[in-house]
Symmetry: C2
Subunit: 198 residues, 2 copies
């Protein structure tokens, strides 16, 4: 359906979409990703659930839309890690990660989202949404052994890297060339993905 | 000097100490650790610099007192990493780290400090104070090659572990036995301390 036809049929659509996104943020933060239904978000926004699906697709899509990320992390990360074998997936993962975080215009917008993740409600969004929607599918696509443990390990290093390189911006990490970041962190992540853990 | 004698001589001492600590927090947050002098903190608190040294010792000690940590991280970490060779210092580092973070009563108080680190001013405290006062001395005591790069790498993993295991509390990381945490993270930290990085 074209944007023009949508607008023609629903002059109030932009407000409706904003109301749905706001309702999604409220419900996901209050009840967590797993225990929030599209139906409850629709009720909070005062619209029909079918309209939510019409605008946003699945609950996963709605969750990512509610986060208001400048890029879809699945489109950045999944094709990259699946572009070769699992034995060097971590290097491609780090390069894909840097391809967005090292772009100043994208980084500014990612940092705004990430700072929200640092508060209590945002923490819940990450805990209950980002892992199942973004990271677990990567672990499953790579057919990892114990993805439910390994992907949080990956997250624990990437969150710390985001904190020190971008949020707190500690030198020399903040200015380290991307190739050095890959050389340092890809072996860590590769072990988390496929290595011995005990 | 006994506490009784201090009190006898200076009835207003507790307020004076509190005023110095508050001034230290303000100055360190505003100007960073390196560019803040004990003299400027004394001026902000309206006391003589000698009194600041008398109560708190060096600028490093004053910084740690201003952070209001429930334990002195140097007393927890330094003896542990120096209790054996550098080749397995990371395992002792992680065990010492867990000995405080996995104690519920201490963790509650550490989390309160850590949440402060997550805001803009707190980030500056960590960036400009915690690394030179706590982490760099560990790197130097271990006689590391390139401690100014390696200790921030250690910090990048430990901050991420704190975020996922304690702040966001993602499972299974949040409930993982300490021995498993050591088995997973000590090899990462050992490589950051002494391994090849490129």
């Amino acid at each position: 359906m074209s944007e023009a036809r949508q607008r023609g049929r629903r002059p109030g659509a932009p407000d409706t979409k904003a109301a749905i996104l706001e309702a999604a943020r409220v419900r996901f933060a209050a009840n967590g990703f797993a225990r929030t239904s599209v139906r409850s978000i629709a009720a909070e926004a005062g619209v029909d659930p079918a309209l939510v699906h019409h605008y946003f697709g699945t609950k996963d899509e709605l969750f990512l839309a509610a986060l208001a990320l400048p890029v879809d992390p699945r489109e950045v990360l999944l094709p990259a890690v699946l572009a070769g074998g699992v034995e060097d997936a971590a290097e491609r993962f780090v390069r894909a990660f840097l391809s967005v975080w090292d772009e100043p215009e994208i980084r500014v917008r990612l940092l705004a989202v990430f700072r929200g993740v640092l508060d209590a409600e945002g923490g819940r969004l990450l805990r209950e949404g980002f892992l199942p929607v973004v990271l677990q599918p990567i672990g499953e696509a790579l057919d990892l052994d114990r993805p439910e443990l390994r992907m949080p390990l990956v997250a624990s290093q990437m969150v710390g890297l985001i904190m020190l390189r971008y949020v707190i911006a500690i030198e020399p990490l903040a200015s380290l060339p991307g190739d050095d970041v890959v050389a340092i962190y890809a072996p860590t992540l590769q072990r988390y993905l496929t290595g011995e853990l005990s």
